[in-house]
C-alpha cells in the first residue's frame, strides 16, 4: 500500500519518548524514496501516454496540433490514475519531511535540556544529524554569548522561576574547583553546598550536582 512504509517510519519516532530517538532508519528511508521515484515515473508515463494518444486522435480527425495540445483531456481512468500517484507522492513527501523535521526538533530540544548529546542518542543519529547538532549548538552559543553578537544570557539556564537565591546541592561526582559569585568551592563527591541558584543549573544539567530537597524545583 502506498505510504504505509513512510507511516511506519514515522511511528518509530513517535513511539519513543521525546528526549530520545530511535536509530535513523536509513534502509526504510531509502525504500520510501524509491517508492516515490516509482510513483513519479508512473505519473510521468501515464501523463505522457495519455497526451500522446490524445494527439494521435486529433491528428486522425485532422485538427490543428497546436490547438489540440491545449485542449488535452485525459479519460476518467487516466485522470484517476494520475490523481492516485500524485496524492501518494505528496503523502510520502509529507511523511518523510515530518520524519526528518521531528528528529531535528528533538535534537534541538536536547541542546536546550542537556547541553550535549547523551551518548545513547548520539549513537542513533545519522552523520547529517550529528552535524546538525554541532551547527545548532554553535548557532545558539552565538546568540547567548555576550558582546556585540549575542544577548549575554544563557537562555538554557533555569527554565523554572527562581525561588531562593541560593539552593542546596549535593555533589554527585568529583569535579574541579569552581568559582561562584559567592566564592570558590571545591566540588568533591558526596559533599553538599549552598550555592547561587542561577549558577548551578549548568552543572545540574551536566550531572555534576543534584538539587537537594525540592528547592528550586528544576
Amino acid at each position: 500500500m502506498f505510504g504505509k512504509q513512510a507511516y511506519e517510519l514515522l511511528q518509530e519516532v513517535a513511539s519513543v519518548p521525546a528526549d530520545n530517538l530511535p536509530p535513523f532508519n536509513e534502509e526504510a528511508f531509502r525504500s520510501v524514496i524509491d517508492e516515490v521515484h516509482m510513483q513519479h515515473e508512473r505519473l510521468t508515463t501515464v501523463y505522457n501516454e495519455s497526451r500522446e494518444r490524445h494527439r494521435q486522435r486529433q491528428e486522425e480527425e485532422g485538427g490543428d496540433p497546436e490547438e489540440a495540445a491545449a485542449g488535452w483531456q485525459g479519460t476518467e481512468a487516466e485522470a484517476t490514475e494520475l490523481m492516485v500517484y500524485h496524492s501518494a507522492i505528496l503523502r510520502n513527501k509529507r511523511l518523510l519531511f515530518t520524519y526528518v523535521k521531528e528528529r531535528a526538533e528533538r535534537i534541538q530540544e536536547l541542546r536546550w535540556t542537556h547541553r550535549t548529546l547523551p551518548e545513547h542518542v548520539k549513537a542513533n543519529l545519522s552523520p547529517l544529524e550529528q552535524q546538525y547538532f554541532r551547527q545548532y549548538d554553535r548557532l545558539l552559543n552565538k546568540y547567548c554569548r555576550s558582546g556585540g553578537q549575542g544577548v549575554g544570557l544563557d537562555l538554557t539556564a533555569d527554565p523554572t522561576p527562581p525561588d531562593d537565591p541560593y539552593v542546596q546541592v549535593r555533589v554527585l561526582r568529583d569535579y574541579a574547583d569552581v568559582v561562584f559569585s559567592s566564592g570558590k568551592v571545591s566540588l568533591r563527591r558526596g559533599k553538599s553546598h549552598w550555592l547561587p541558584s542561577d549558577e548551578v543549573h549548568p552543572l545540574v544539567m551536566d550531572g555534576v550536582l543534584e538539587l537537594v530537597g525540592g528547592t528550586g524545583g528544576s
Partner: protein, 220 residues
C-alpha cells in the same frame, strides 16, 4: 538609604515608563503576551535596553554593598530581585526564539513580521533558516524528484507556498482590557463588543491583534 532604595527597586516606576508601570511589571506583561500570542510580537527594544542597563548597574551596586557586613540581608533581597528579573528576561527571549524557530520561513517571508525582531533575533532567524533548510534539503528534499523537492510547496506546480508553517491567528486568546475603547468590531460580520478597562474576554486573536499592538489589551 532613600536614594539607594529607589535606584535598586525595580518595582519603582522609573521616569522613562509612560504607563505608570515599572520596568519589571512591563517585562512581565511582555512575557505574558508573548507566551499567549500565536504569532511573534514586536520586540520591546526600549524596555529591554533599559532593563539590561539596570542589571549591569545593580550588579555593581551589590558588589559595593557586599563589603559592608550590616547590609547582608539587603544584599540577599537585592540578589533575589535581580535573579527574578534575569529569569523574566531569559524567559522572554527564550519564548521568542522558540517562535522564530517554529515559523522561521513565515517570518522571513513577510517583511512586516520580520521587522518585529531585534537585530540579533533577525540574524538568528537567517542563520537558523540556512541551517534548518540546508538540513531538510540534504536529508530529504534532495532525494525526491525535482517536481516535488521544494521546501515551501508541496509540488512545484502549486501556485502558493502551501508548506510554510504559519501561526494560527484565529486561535482563541484570553485578554484583559487596559484602556476604555468603547465599541470594538470583533468579527467580519461587524458584530461589536464593549471594551472597557478591566473587562475580560475570550476572543479570536485576530480580533484583538491591533489592540494588543497598541497596548490597549494584554493577554493572559
Amino acid at each position: 538609604m532613600d536614594t539607594q532604595d529607589t535606584e535598586f527597586d525595580f518595582l519603582q516606576s522609573g521616569p522613562a515608563s509612560t504607563s505608570g508601570r515599572s520596568d519589571a511589571e512591563q517585562l512581565k506583561s511582555a512575557l505574558q503576551n508573548e507566551k499567549a500570542a500565536p504569532e511573534i510580537l514586536q520586540y520591546e527594544t526600549d524596555l529591554i535596553a533599559r532593563i539590561e542597563q539596570n542589571l549591569d548597574y545593580q550588579d555593581e551596586q551589590i558588589e559595593l554593598l557586599k563589603e559592608n557586613d550590616d547590609m547582608k540581608l539587603l544584599v540577599e533581597i537585592y540578589l533575589s530581585e535581580l535573579s527574578r528579573v534575569r529569569y523574566l528576561l531569559r524567559a522572554y527571549l527564550r519564548v521568542r526564539l522558540q517562535k522564530i524557530e517554529r515559523h522561521v520561513m513565515h517570518i522571513l517571508d513577510n517583511a512586516d513580521v520580520a521587522a518585529r525582531l531585534s537585530a540579533k533575533e533577525a540574524q538568528f532567524a537567517r542563520d537558523y533558516f540556512v541551517l534548518f533548510g540546508g538540513h531538510m534539503r540534504a536529508a530529504a528534499a534532495s532525494h525526491l524528484p525535482d517536481a516535488f523537492s521544494s521546501l515551501v510547496r508541496q509540488a512545484s506546480a502549486h501556485p502558493g507556498k502551501d508548506m510554510v508553517p504559519a501561526p494560527d491567528l484565529d486561535r482563541h486568546a484570553f485578554c484583559r482590557v487596559l484602556e476604555d475603547r468603547g465599541s470594538v468590531t470583533v468579527d467580519e460580520e461587524g458584530n461589536v463588543a464593549e471594551f472597557n478597562r478591566g473587562d475580560l474576554f475570550v476572543i479570536r486573536y485576530r480580533a484583538i491583534q491591533q489592540l494588543l499592538a497598541e497596548g490597549a489589551v494584554e493577554l493572559l
